[in-house]
């Protein structure tokens, strides 16, 4: 019974999230938007890479670096979009739709509700990631033969990585209960930390050595590593481009990713519950500030 209720909440909040993601435009416009947006975002990075390569002389001659940053950037969409999407649920439902309090006082499990709302973000982002990768392979010549992709590793890594990202999102959602003004800046700031320190577009070893311990405790670092191995193969130029991670074999990478993800899931649950309790104590569940 309890499981059925949780499933029902999850399913309906996922449905609501999808309606809100896709229902603002007609289906054709939404399809065009879903394709154009990620490509346009990626092209910024591509042009930066090309410009810097030519500025350094010789043009873009490092396919390993290009593959490294291209895939890292594509996958990072999950981090940015899911973190933003999950935390924004609190702000949007509370301030814009003024429905948060009605969902909160219902028997639905609010943690599961937020979880369900993140599913639509993941679905929309997945479309963006696939479009970006296909564009990279077909239009930009990234060498990623389908036969080289380790599908089981990719699916496993993706599942653990998404669980980790959602856990971060839920922790931030807990904090969002307590703030209105800083909800947007907070998730962008956290995503920015991951972008900088986790080797999303450049190897961690490029950064000052004091930042390496930070990179080594963040699960996103290992997620990106596992995904690069899954897409390009262990020992490939892309997968071994980062000297800090090149020493890990794939089982070590997966193990660290799994353990750190479990720790962050537990942590996010605690933070969410604490944020929920404090919001109820301070009377912030139905706060409307106009931000």
């Amino acid at each position: 019974m309890a499981m059925r209720n949780l499933w029902r909440t999850f399913k309906n909040s996922a449905w609501l999230g999808w309606q809100m993601e896709s229902n603002w435009a007609d289906p054709y416009l939404f399809a065009i938007y879903s394709i154009v947006k990620p490509i346009a975002g990626t092209l910024i990075l591509v042009f930066m890479y090309i410009f810097l390569s030519y500025a350094g002389g010789g043009g873009p001659t490092n396919p390993s670096l290009f593959g490294y940053m291209y895939l890292g950037n594509a996958l990072f969409m999950y981090v940015a979009q899911v973190l933003f999407g999950v935390t924004w649920v609190i702000h949007d439902d509370r301030e814009h739709y003024q429905t948060l309090k009605y969902i909160y006082i219902s028997p639905a499990n609010f943690y599961v509700y937020i979880l369900g709302r993140s599913v639509s973000k993941i679905a929309v982002t997945t479309i963006g990631v696939i479009v970006t990768i296909i564009f990279g392979v077909t239009a930009l010549g990234i060498q990623m033969p389908l036969s080289n992709i380790s599908w089981p590793l990719m699916l496993l890594g993706m599942s653990i990585g998404l669980a980790c990202i959602i856990a971060f999102g839920l922790a931030l959602a807990g904090v969002s209960f307590l703030t209105a003004r800083h909800a947007g800046g907070m998730n962008e700031g956290i995503a920015g930390i991951f972008y900088l320190f986790c080797g999303a577009i450049f190897p961690i070893t490029v950064l000052p050595s004091w930042s390496w311990p930070l990179a080594s405790v963040l699960p996103i670092t290992y997620w990106l590593y596992v995904m690069r191995v899954a897409f390009f193969g262990l020992g490939s130029g892309v997968a071994s481009y980062d000297a800090m991670l090149a020493g890990y074999d794939i089982m070590q990478g997966l193990l660290i990713l799994t353990v750190s993800t479990l720790i962050f899931i537990a942590l996010s649950f605690v933070i969410f519950r604490f944020g929920d309790y404090m919001a109820r104590k301070k009377g912030l569940i139905d706060m409307t500030t106009g931000y």
Partner: protein, 335 residues
């Protein structure tokens, strides 16, 4: 465990504002030692002006807010420690807001909320159609919520609150800002809903006396966080003797306050309608002999008496007696 639908014991809630530059922290007592009991099947009203603590009380009872001190039980469960158990038995509708997902249709919105309560989809759809009909909103069922007027949204929210068939429903100023017809429709529906089954309980907050008087089995009068009285409307009104309630309509009187100082007046309230230039003075007298002094004070103040009558006491008179000022001094006009 308690047999009441709602019970509060010495319930307190304070809000502390943040310290700003040069300004110390402010502590506001929104509720002070509130003791209330609501029986199952009762339509219970909480009457008070804006800022009296009515919404704070509803927020605590609906598990949105924790009390600072004291205890509250809803359907026998503590709001502090058993909020998850309470949520199966309650729902809430707040007036004066335009909640709802604008991108969804009215039916989609309502159906989605029904699913959070675990109502089977077919049953939920049936209830939604039935209640949309009761609220005269059936032709808007497939309209996007963003296209609805404020009144229609409020009706949709009434459907959202009642479609789950809660044991206890909290209505926080449900007719606030609505036109007369819609308000009447909603009042009629609430009255019929609570009577339809014996164990349905309504806790309604309002600052409209007529609403409280018309609907409620019992009323708690609340001001500045304190429950001043709690009884049936009839018993509350009996506290004020019929002979002692006097209403005088005056024109041309700038300030009616000098009247309030006359010996023999228990409570005084004056409301001026600027459009008509008429001041209505409500008086509760300790001694009838004060009437001649009152009339002469009005005349001296340049006022011309248009009408004067002794009336049956209203809840407003009860409130004036208890608080020393009228509800209308703080609030909007009644719908």
């Amino acid at each position: 465990m308690t047999s009441y639908a709602v019970e509060t014991r010495e319930l307190c809630r304070t809000f502390t504002s943040k310290e700003k530059r040069g300004e110390p922290k402010k502590v506001v007592n929104a509720l002070e030692n509130a003791n209330l009991t609501v029986k199952p099947g009762e339509l219970f009203g909480v009457l008070g002006p804006n800022g009296a603590g009515k919404t704070t009380l509803i927020k605590i009872l609906s598990t949105l807010l924790l009390p600072t001190k004291g205890e509250a039980f809803v359907h026998g469960h503590s709001v502090k420690t058993e909020s998850h158990k309470i949520r199966y038995h309650i729902n809430m509708v707040c007036g004066g807001e335009s909640s709802g997902y604008g991108l969804l249709t009215v039916r989609e919105n309502l159906w989605m909320f029904s699913q959070f309560y675990g109502i089977p989809s077919k049953l939920a759809k049936g209830r939604i159609d039935e209640l949309l009909g009761v609220m005269n909103l059936q032709d808007k069922g497939d309209a996007k919520v963003r296209t609805l007027s404020t009144g229609m949204r409020q009706k949709m929210n009434m459907v959202r609150g009642f479609m789950t068939d809660p044991a206890i429903i909290f209505l926080d100023e449900p007719t606030l800002g609505l036109d007369v017809t819609t308000s009447r429709q909603i009042r009629l529906f609430v009255k019929e809903w609570v009577k339809a089954e014996t164990d349905r309980t309504v806790l309604l907050t309002t600052h409209y006396m007529m609403e409280a008087d018309e609907l409620c089995d019992r009323i708690a009068i609340i001001d500045k966080g304190t429950v001043l009285a709690c009884d049936t409307p009839e018993n509350l009104k009996r506290r004020v003797k019929r002979e002692s309630v006097l209403r005088i309509e005056v024109t041309g009187m700038g300030d009616a306050k000098p009247v309030s100082g006359i010996k023999g007046i228990h409570a005084f309230n004056a409301i001026t309608d600027p459009a008509k230039g008429v001041t209505t003075i409500s008086l509760i007298l300790d001694e009838e002999s004060a009437i001649s002094d009152i009339l002469s004070a009005i005349t001296k103040g340049g006022g011309r008496i248009q009408a004067m009558q002794k009336t049956d006491p209203t809840l407003e008179d009860v409130f004036i007696t208890l608080v020393g000022r009228g509800l209308e001094n703080d609030n909007d006009n009644q719908p």
